[in-house]
Amino acid sequence: MRKNMSESKATRRNGRRGPLASVALILIGLVATGGAYAALSTASASASVDLSSPAVIDEGQKLFAANCSTCHGQQAQGTANGPSLIGVGSAAVDFQVGTGRMPMQMSGPQAEQKPVQFTDEQTKALAAYVASLAPGPAIPAQSELEGGNVSNGGELFRINCAMCHNVAGAGGALTEGKYAPELKGVAAVHVYEAMLTGPQNMPVFNDLNLSPEEKKDIISYLTYIQENPSAGGLELSNLGPVSEGLFLWVFGLGAIVALTVWVTAKSN
């Protein structure tokens, strides 16, 4: 055995390239292109857009005129169909447009989320334009979204958010067909902006109500429960006893009844 191995090793060394060379080459290639793409795309995502640059604001104004002004007015002053956007700040635009709620597809109890319609750059340009009209809450920096105290965040979430969004962020019903959406999969920056601007039925949680530090804690808590699924197994959408009861009646009792039929079947 030993001899064989050393022989095969020797033959490998004799070759011009090691057998793993091509694998390594592909790996290097993938890492390099992937890394470069990631670097470039993150750069285009946030770093490169300067919200105060006149060019960006101009671009935003054009987009606004083409996509938003029907309801919000040419100068964002508002019409009978849509509220004024003067003073709502870039955070509100980034939330509404960035999550696909705006431009609104149809009137209803509340603006539904739909596939995002603008690229990140276009969204930022729109935000820059609206922010240029009057001062308002700004898009939070990445540093305000990470590294908070998870347990404090959990407690704040239960006190301030859970009555509409459910303790696990599974969402919940409001009146007249409105609802608080599920928070799973919502980007941290959008959660922050929602607290800051109070979109649709949500109240505003300003900095006196929940300090930036506390907002960061809440976001860290949400991130934690998303990244750490239930220790108990399937979560049944975290809807609580209703989904548990349904599961038991359908699958638990279903299986049991099937077994009773099986156990008594042979005798007939």
Binding site: P109, V150, S151, G153, G154, E155, R158, I159, A162, M163, C164, H165, N166, V167, A168, A170, G171, G172, A173, L174, T175, E176, G177, Y179, Y221, Y224, I225, N228, S230, A231, G232, G233, L234, E235, L236, N238, L239, G240, P241, V242, S243, E244, G245, F247, L248, W249, F251, G252, L253, A255, I256, V257, L259, T260, V261, V263, T264, A265, S267, N268
Partner: protein, 533 residues
């Protein structure tokens, strides 16, 4: 009893059995119980499922008591679940978190315990429905129905006290609702909650008190009533479905030893396996999400476990603003009405066997079960009851229905309010008509046989389809049932007709006015002759 000659003492088992029997006379009992016969039908195992779930609950519950601390002393959680680290909570909540995250096998035991509890009440419910719809509650089993009903209520009480023990947000909200319901009772309400909670809600006593009830008093009662329930099953012998060779005087099936005991024992492990599988793979009551109880927050989608759902539904469906101010007190009809509704509903379920016995005036023993179609009004009443319960049940998840079916909350509530009254009536009429129609079909098949699909041409040129008569086995099932006719209103020996008699006569008309009489022997003979011509 005494084995003077002591035969066949070969082998260890023989010697041991003999040793045991000489000291306990157990062979008498084994002979008696071992020859008990149980008929085989899947629906007869539903009660067994309940029994097995209870055994699972006892086993896992004992494990949980080793680690659970039934105390509301505030502590700071320092276990391994990060999002609750350093948070102040009761010792009950902290120890439940420890069971879930820091004690080996603890979470599995908790989840098996809780799933088995849900299965316990569900299988009791299904078992009750089987007993109801087949008329198994008739004489001599009315008392056993009552005992079973008490078990059902005890199971709900066990479930609710257990649900409230971890002192998490969900269980605290549940207790708050109970507190509110009790507070809404006139005059005594406030004092009862003071007694229950040891002062103002939530106080610091309730978890300890519920724990005593949950692990001591209620299980003891459940056990006593299970023993009574099973004793009655043995005394009455098991019921059976009608069929050839099955009469009111016999029981056709397998003896306990060796067949039935092996089957039932194996079935226990099947049930345990299913519950363990669910417990191992599906989260139930993730208290770590809910966090410790605090009277201020309430989570969206807060509901009780399914078996209390109908009570929660009643509270959700009662119209708002039902309050009056009388004699210096506020009378909260929005609480009194749902509570009364539930009490009346449960009382009706409890009393049904006695009511039916009174209406029919039937004093005979019944060991052969009814097919649901052969008691149309009973089946219809059952269908109405199930529908009524189901509407209340659905109402408890009104918010989830609203979000998941994209309808408005108000729409759901208003629809269910109407359905609570209308749907049972529709269910009653539909079920009764279906049962009568099925009876008609049975009658038709009996008299004229079933269509064979073979069409023949008679010499005269007439075409006719050949009908084939049922064989004797199938015929037996279709003819052997009790027929109840409405009772005649006749004066009693004193020559009077009392109000009670009138009431009974009108109830009897309600039950048996629309009926399809079973095929008589003469009718059958005539039909046969007719078929031969």
């Amino acid at each position: 009893m005494s084995n003077v000659t002591a035969p066949a003492q070969s082998g260890v088992v023989g010697k041991f059995s003999n040793y045991l029997d000489e000291r306990t006379s157990i062979s008498g009992a084994v002979k008696e119980f071992g020859r008990k016969v149980f008929p085989d039908h899947w629906s007869f195992l539903l009660g067994e499922v309940a029994l097995y779930s209870f055994v699972i609950i006892l086993l896992t519950g004992s494990f949980l008591t080793f680690f659970f601390q039934a105390s509301m002393t505030p502590v700071h959680y320092e276990g391994s679940y990060v999002p609750l680290k350093g948070i102040e909570m009761s010792a009950a909540m902290a120890s439940t978190l420890d069971i879930s995250f820091d004690i080996r096998g603890g979470l599995l035991m908790r989840q098996i315990h809780h799933w088995a509890a849900l299965l316990f009440v569900a299988s009791i419910g299904l078992h009750m429905l089987r007993v109801f719809f087949t008329g198994a509650f008739r004489k001599p089993r009315e008392l056993n129905w009552s005992i079973g009903f008490v078990l059902f209520v005890l199971a709900m009480a066990e479930g609710f006290t257990g649900y409230s023990l971890p002192d998490d947000l969900l269980s605290g909200n549940g207790l708050r609702i109970i507190d509110g319901m009790v507070l809404g009772l006139p005059v005594v309400g406030t004092w009862i909650t003071f007694l229950l909670f040891g002062g103002e809600f939530p106080g610091s006593d309730i978890v300890g008190r519920l724990y005593s009830l949950h692990i001591l008093l209620l299980p003891a009662f459940v056990l006593i009533f299970i023993v009574l329930h099973l004793m009655f099953v043995i005394i009455h012998k098991h019921t059976q479905y009608p069929g050839p060779g099955k009469t009111e005087e016999n029981v056709v099936g397998f003896p306990i030893l060796p067949v039935y005991a092996a089957k039932a024992g194996g079935f226990f492990f099947l049930v345990f396996g299913v519950v363990a599988l669910i417990g191992a793979t599906v989260t139930i009551n993730p208290i770590w999400n809910y966090g410790p109880y605090d009277p201020s927050p309430v989570s969206a989608g807060t509901q009780p476990d399914w078996y209390i759902g109908f009570a929660d539904g009643a509270l959700r469906l009662v119209p708002p603003h039902l309050e009056t101010y009388w004699f210096g007190y506020t009378w909260s009809w929005n609480i009194i009405i749902p509570v009364l509704l539930l009490v009346v509903f449960l009382a009706a379920a409890f009393a049904y066997p006695f009511v039916e016995a009174w209406v029919t005036g039937d004093k005979r023993e019944h060991h052969l079960l009814d097919r649901p179609r052969n008691a149309p009004v009973r089946t219809a009443i059952g269908a109405a009851g199930v529908t009524f319960y189901a509407v209340l049940w659905a109402a408890a998840s009104s918010d989830i229905i609203a979000t998941h079916f994209k309808v408005t909350m108000e729409g759901v509530i208003n629809t269910l309010q109407i359905m609570l009254i209308v749907a049972p009536i529709i269910a009653f009429m539909t079920a009764k008509r279906i049962a009568l129609a099925l009876q008609k079909k049975d009658r038709e098949i009996l008299l004229h046989g079933f269509e064979t699909g073979r069409v023949v041409r008679l010499p005269g040129g007439e075409y006719t389809e050949v009908h084939q008569q049922l064989d004797a086995y199938d015929r037996w099932q279709l003819v052997s049932y009790n027929d109840n006719a409405p009772i005649m209103l006749r004066p009693n020996p004193q020559g009077k007709i009392t109000a009670g008699m009138r009431m009974r006569a009108s109830m009897s008309r309600f039950f048996f006015e629309d009926r399809i009489a079973p095929v008589s022997q003469e009718e059958y003979k005539q039909a046969l002759e007719h078929a031969h011509h």
